[in-house]
Symmetry: C2
Subunit: 253 residues, 2 copies
Amino acid sequence: MSSTPQPIHLTALPGIPAVQPGADLPALILAAAQRAEIPLQAGALVVCQKIISKAEGRVVALSEVTPSAEAKKLAAEDGCDPRQLELVLRETARIVRRGHGVTISETKHGFVCANAGVDLSNAPAPDTAVLLPLDPDASARALREALLADGAALPFAVIISDTFGRPWREGLVDVALGSAGIEPIRDLRGSPDLGGRELHATTTATADQLAAAAGLLMRKDAGTPAVWIEGIEIKGDGDIRETLRDPATDLFR
Amino acid sequence: MSSTPQPIHLTALPGIPAVQPGADLPALILAAAQRAEIPLQAGALVVCQKIISKAEGRVVALSEVTPSAEAKKLAAEDGCDPRQLELVLRETARIVRRGHGVTISETKHGFVCANAGVDLSNAPAPDTAVLLPLDPDASARALREALLADGAALPFAVIISDTFGRPWREGLVDVALGSAGIEPIRDLRGSPDLGGRELHATTTATADQLAAAAGLLMRKDAGTPAVWIEGIEIKGDGDIRETLRDPATDLFR
């Protein structure tokens, strides 16, 4: 039995402004951390996907989107903008379910989520859509490296999060889309439980727990898209993409 | 735009011993909180389902279970103990999926989870299974009232958590099974986003976020089944059961 783990502290980085395409996100984050006197060492920085996508220019004006016949058909079924459906289809590798005005997509990254992550809320301009980053693990790695080069210090992890709905349960919860500098899954299989019985099926989705915890401070109306988490074990390294369930063993695809 | 939210702190309550049926859980928790000098006020206490179930006697010796023909058939398919399958079937309202040695059940409460929550790890004795509490919301209310009567003070919330697997993503994440003294879902629909656009579909599963955050300190091998969370807004009141998705609008049932 381990000793009692140390406390965990979560702090929202204050005063990060609205992010525009091409913004220098590492500089904005470092400035916010300095304002809060957070050293960006021995912890994980959780950053909302939306500001990553905006900085990377993953923003599309609906006026520039020409919907396909398929997008028009689906939009008519859903009662929504065919240009939005067109973007959803472009981001989608496979439609998993449709109903109640929502398309549940498997994205080209392999995430399963509503509308392939295409989002019109908190977009930088009206009638603009924000898409998921092309490669959120690469975005996490790049942000981590930029911050380590300019003030952050090891051990230091970056997680990119987004809010997803879930089957069976109401309400959104933040999950990890990308990670760098931390193992996204902690594997306890084979270690003994408190009674000495071997733990089965006990892999913990640490990165998703961190994302959900950070989500407590990332309310969409609060303007706090980055949260610093201290007191956790920062070890290993791995991509979120590699932890997505193999479709062959997935009972819901 | 709100001001930056205050930091959140999570502390594992130290030294809670292995819980046996009939244990005085409020007394064990209060003693642990006193050891850690935690006042149990202005925060949420997240308690692992396992110790709730044990204290409530939701523990079954497999030797006392006679498997039905159906349980024997399914257990033969899965290569596992037919008495365990018998318990799973007794806890199940409807089988949602089966495969890869796992039964995904809709429990009699309405939760959708692996093996109806029947768990043989960290059981109080070998060949013993722990079942989910009969009514986790009632368990949360009772624990909250007992603690408020004996040292805790308002505002004070109790959440009962368990680790569930998810479709599409590997690894377990803690979710809320029961809640008392807090609104389990925060509804932001109708409030403006940062650009003044109305937020749609933005209900946040606060109780699940709190459970996932607490899970960071509840590693199964650590013996820390209760976590105190400070710095969050404690308002409203509601049952988890009422926040489960209506099967009629669920695309995955």
